[in-house]
Amino acid sequence: MRAAVIVSEPLRPGLGRWLATPRRGGLLVLALVIVLLPLLLRNSYFYEIAILVALNAIVCIGLNLLIGYAGQISLGHAGFFALGGYGSAILSAQHGWPSWLAMITSCAAVGLLAFVVGRPTLRLKGHYLAMATLGLGIIISIVLTTEDRLTGGPDGMAVPALSVFGWVLRGERTWYWVVAAALLLAVWLALNLIESPTGRALRALHGSEIAAQTLGVDSARFKLRVFVISAVFAAVAGALTAHYAGFITPAKSTFMHSVELVIMVVFGGMASIFGAVVGALVLTLLPQLLTVLEDYETMVFGAVLIATMIFFPQGIVPTLARWLASLKQGLRR
């Protein structure tokens, strides 16, 4: 896969410089939007959509690290998402664990699984890697659907509400703040990772794995690290979703869901954390907006996807960023 274009901006002096780094400036703006958004959210349904966007964004941020920065691909991330949710559900509903402990344990377990499975899988490249992750996702999906004594089968299972140190989280408005905080944390962690030595190694890998290896970058180790991190992100989002909705079904583990996640990442922009957020936003909102089209919804969705990828081949955010940069360049002259 060709390297993604990572646009960098010249720093301006003073406050401009302080805000101009993606880490601080972007985070601030995101936090601002999160705080101001409730003014626009009229009822529980709007809150629900906002929550779903944030949850999808968390998965996409992790997936973007894998696809956009590390240049790998995963067509099975819905499996990690669902395992995170089911793990937390089973531990808290069937074994009486406190839900916050169930969540943490479940996500750690998914991380461990990703570590074990990732080592042989990441030796594959390109389409073969896609196939392997696809197979993994499907196997997970089949197991979740078939082991109905444990998982409730195709109709899923009920999940108790999340309670942290005695405080039970209920209602869309409470969850909005919880999920928003999780999203900000996820963005901050991802931005830190990219600026760290791991992130630099990843970008080197993406540019050319062989060149990076000749420079002493242990590609296997870094690929595995980012694979595990993205799996944990997905598991956390999955567990939060399960506790928020009060139930979980295998529909969240299917190939189609994995594909949806990849679309969000590519659509929003690879190698762009905020691109992942935008991708999640647009692709969660779009089906809600397209319901007016009823029978034509699938068709229009497909057409929109094609058109967007033709005109924004790098994804929305990087392409728009590049247009804006060249616009400014033109204006300066």
Binding site: E9, G16, L19, A20, G25, G26, V29, L30, L32, V33, L36, L37, L40, R42, N43, S44, Y45, F46, E48, I49, A50, L52, T145, T146, D148, G153, P154, D155, G156, T241, A245, G246, F247, T249, A251, K252, F274, G275, V277, V278, L281, V282, L285, Q288, L289, T291, V292, E294, E297, T298, V317, L320, A321, L324, A325
Partner: protein
């Protein structure tokens, strides 16, 4: 500085609010529906959606209810329970519907149950599992016969033909698994022994392997708990591997589609179904005859396709709600709910409905007829 993406996000959200907020001049009665029109349960959701549209139009042509027009708001959940939950919230919070008729599958229904219980909106489900109304939930009703009833009906028929060993074959869908579990549960009580238990994937195209294994068992009859195209393929493969044992299907395939897809292999297959499938065979004194004949005629004339029992369930659901609203004299949710619960003697496509505070379905085993496929068409089984 580049425009930060989150601002764009806020603009997009604002735009969506403008699209969805429309004020209506005269206040219609809003009926909400979330159905699985696409996806693995399209077999159910498609006729349900068509029926709801048709009946709402008819009611409006007759003057509406309480002098107000009826408005239908429907969403397609594609069989996904989480989408159903989101649409449930949308119907209750955003579209502010007065009642909900929907939930093509048990999974999608159960996802919305907590919402209607909390919001206090009457909800009539179109799904089959017994868990929907057992234990009884205040705001939740349902129109289809339960899967447990189907099992009981089939086992009674088996015993009448002196058979006691059955082989089960079912799919991995929610309906299939639920019915299979119910059949296993009631088998012992009815004196039936389950000697084989095979499954197939929902999208599978060849069940000869599973049927070959059943052929080698001691079964005297085979029960296929499934719906969609799976049972049709099972039926064809059945004849292909040379099985001559009686084959029972579930009410999930109670439609001419099943006969068409299975071809001549369907001869002799028995299943429990509502009277809607055989209006011509009903005696003139049968209370259901006028209702089912009229619905079948209207549906087939309008949509140029065979009527299905699932559409019939939607018809019953909507008519029950309409009747309750009329009797309650208002759309106040509590009043409508009480009127629903007090429904007595409603003659629908599924049977005669008598609800009560402990029975939110209102049908008994007599609402099911045992049908048999004869010469490519339905006949009453003897």
């Amino acid at each position: 500085m580049t425009i930060r993406p989150p601002f764009r996000a806020a603009l997009a959200l604002a735009g969506s609010l403008l699209i969805s907020g429309t004020a209506l001049a005269q206040d219609p009665i809003r009926i909400g529906a979330f159905l699985s029109v696409t996806g693995p349960a399209a077999f159910l959701g498609d006729p349900e959606q068509k029926t709801l549209e048709m009946v709402i139009e008819k009611l409006n042509a007759e003057g509406g209810l309480l002098g107000r027009k009826l408005q239908l708001v429907t969403y397609d959940d594609a069989g996904d329970a989480e989408k159903a939950r989101t649409f449930g919230k949308r119907l209750i919070e955003q579209d502010k519907v007065d009642a909900i008729v929907g939930g093509s599958t048990t999974g999608t229904t159960m996802a919305v149950v907590p919402l209607v219980e909390q919001a206090g909106i009457p909800f009539i489900s179109l799904a089959g599992a017994v868990v929907i109304v057992e234990p009884v939930k205040k705001w939740v009703f349902k129109t289809p016969h339960t899967d447990r009833m189907a099992c009981e009906k089939i086992f009674i028929d088996m015993k009448a033909r002196n058979m006691s060993k059955v082989a089960l074959i079912s799919g991995t869908g929610g309906f299939d698994k639920s019915m299979r579990a119910q059949c296993v549960g009631v088998a012992a009580k009815q004196g039936i022994e389950v000697v084989a238990d095979e499954t197939y994937g929902a999208a599978d195209t060849d069940m000869t392997a599973q049927l070959t294994k059943i052929r080698g068992s001691s079964a005297q009859a085979v029960l296929n708990a499934g719906f969609g195209q799976g049972p049709a393929i099972v039926t064809r493969n059945y004849r292909q591997v040379g099985l001559t044992l009686p084959l029972y299907q579930s009410h999930g395939v109670a439609s001419k589609e099943y006969i068409k897809l299975s071809g001549p292999a369907a001869e002799g297959v028995r299943l429990p179904a509502a009277a809607l499938l055989v209006p011509e065979l009903l005696p003139d004194s049968d209370k259901q005859k006028p209702v089912v004949t009229a619905y079948k005629r209207d549906y087939e004339a309008r949509f140029k396709t065979e009527v299905s029992t699932f559409g019939g369930h939607a018809y019953d659901g909507l008519m029950l709600v309409a009747g309750a609203i009329k009797r309650a004299g208002s759309t106040n949710p509590a009043k409508v709910r009480d009127a629903l619960e007090a429904t007595k003697g409603y003659v629908g496509t599924g049977g005669v409905v008598n609800m009560s505070p402990t029975d939110h379905m209102g049908l008994d085993l007599s609402a099911f007829l045992m049908l048999e496929v004869k010469n490519g068409s339905w006949a009453l089984a003897r």
